[in-house]
Amino acid sequence: MSNQTRTIPRPRRLCTAVCLALGLGVAGSATAQEPVRIGAIYIMSGSPSVYGQFAQQGMQLAVDEINEAGGILDRQVEFVLEDSQIKADAAIQAARKLVYSEQVHGLMGLDSSGVATGVVPVVPELKRPFIITHAATPDVTGKLCNRYTYRLSVNISQNTRAAAEIAAETGARRWTTIGPDYAFGHQSWEFFGDYLKELDPEVELMERTAFPRFGNEDFTPFINNVMDAEPEGVLVSLWGGDLVNFIRQANNLGFFEQDFEVLMTLGGATEVMSALGEDMPEGIWVGTRYWFAAHENATNDAFVSAYMERFGNPPSYNAQGAYAGIYAYKAAIEEAGSTDPEAITDALSGLTFQAPNGPLTFREGDHQAVVGPTWGQTAEVSDEYGVRMLDPMKTFDGDLVTPDVSETGCSL
């Protein structure tokens, strides 16, 4: 009956990376107790696998730090990583495997909104807490919310709320969008439009929009289409390799020299910025869930320098999310005083813990962390980090951009 007894592995599963992070070598005071086990599900294959790699690095760093400092409740901590294959059914199967055969105490991860909406309804049957660190659809802490599911990363409504603030300040009144043709692209445009209308009822949301297929390679027709429409502002919600392709092709066509404002909701991602280097246009507004140079606190300083030293590049938002996820579990398990999954789940609700992007609190009402994105205008390329820095730069206060629980559609 259960999927996990499937004996013939599907081809893609052959490349599933099962990575056991045993901090045993590091730990001086190894205890006889069973380690705390965290199950993680990220995208480890296919073109977006760079996100999974970042998450793995973030978790590895957090786990090593914690083990070196004595572990959680005097127990070592380890993580088991499974590939989501960016498919909901594969991620559900991975979650079952992590719970039933790997016996993890808690789950974390998820990179895609599509995968998250499939996995979240299954979480209650697993009876394990699940901390989402990347997937951004509002639904998983909205109409699909449940007792076990938490999210520490910025969601679409938080990020587009901030985007609307920036957009209103630019003075542009006729807006269109270019975004990936799945839930994320459409929801980004819908939320952005609603928030922008609230700020400025006179603004025009154009009928003519462009939603190229996710993983499209040639964006030129869509770029031409948007340029023909003569908007005053363009919201770009493409991300990852698509965004890199888009920006290079748009550079070629003079897209960024036109008379309109360009806002990229995920343009501030370091993987995009470092792939492009000088090719990233200057003076464009870009958003990101976390920007390594935006937070002046001891946790962030230590995180950024340790990450740079170990992996050679500044931490991306996904590395930060995964790193923070491990620390969220540490805080919750210490609060609960045990690794009983129900006790951890209860402890997470209303919990405040220290993440690199500041102290984060999981709201009791919908389990969404009260957190805001960083937006900034692309400036000079930094020699130290190999990416354009952001100047001016603004990190939005979570309280200002997070909608009230009553608006989320969640009832717990």
Binding site: Q53, T220, P221
Partner: protein, 289 residues
Amino acid sequence: MQSFIAALLNSLDIALLLFVIAVGLNIIFGVLNVINFAHGALYMLGAYFAYTAMGLLGLSFWLALVVAPLLVAVVAVAIERLMLRTVYDRHITDSLLLTFALLLIIDESVRMIWGPSIQVVNPPALLAGTVSVFGVNYPLYGLFVIAVGLAMMLGLWLLFTRTRLGRIVRAAALDREMAQTLGINVPLVITGVFAFGAWIAAVGGVVAAPMRAIGPAMGEKIIIESFIVVVIGGLGSFPGTLLGALVLGGIHGFGGRFLPEINLVLPYIGMALVLLLKPQGLMGKGASA
């Protein structure tokens, strides 16, 4: 009018790159009777070799365009000699499985060697920027892709119709035993054709590199498109491949511009229509035995 010209140029530039990939696939099928799933992976290898040649070794784009495809051809010789050769006598599904396995192996090897990050190479200075074509500003590099596609088409046509080598290859494709009896070294021809097909795919990869982000799984995207081209045009048909590529390029170029809401399904609608109305493809002669 301007938007029509821009869409037309777009269609051509997408179509001719697709043609280059799909024609290699079709040549290999025609001679080896193998549907090469790993073809997209060889295209990706071309792009990655070019990236390393240009980034790490500091070679120019033009030198990379010469070196990278040759290296991929060498890899292809090894694949044919060590693996493909063992399955010719078996059912076609065995070669399908083998090349699919190769696709996964090459994909994961690329991920292990170069990492999963997105990589970028720049077009040569000569081809940077845009030019005005009938009043439309179009990237010069796009025109270069069109030129490469046309040159490849002309070269292949001359090779297969006007040269002795081309006739030998066609003879080996038609009847291996007869060709062998006539003194043609058929195993050598087969190795050569596979390496040549891989070389073409890698040329496509190098040419695509400056305008498309290099990343693992870039081969999977292109192989799906190439299969659509081959299905539309007809398996084993050279003019069909061109027609299929033009149809799909047109769907992307015009569809993306004028019907962006449904561009996602258009290629599949096109493929389904062809399969319904003309199952062998527009110019297909049916599967060769």
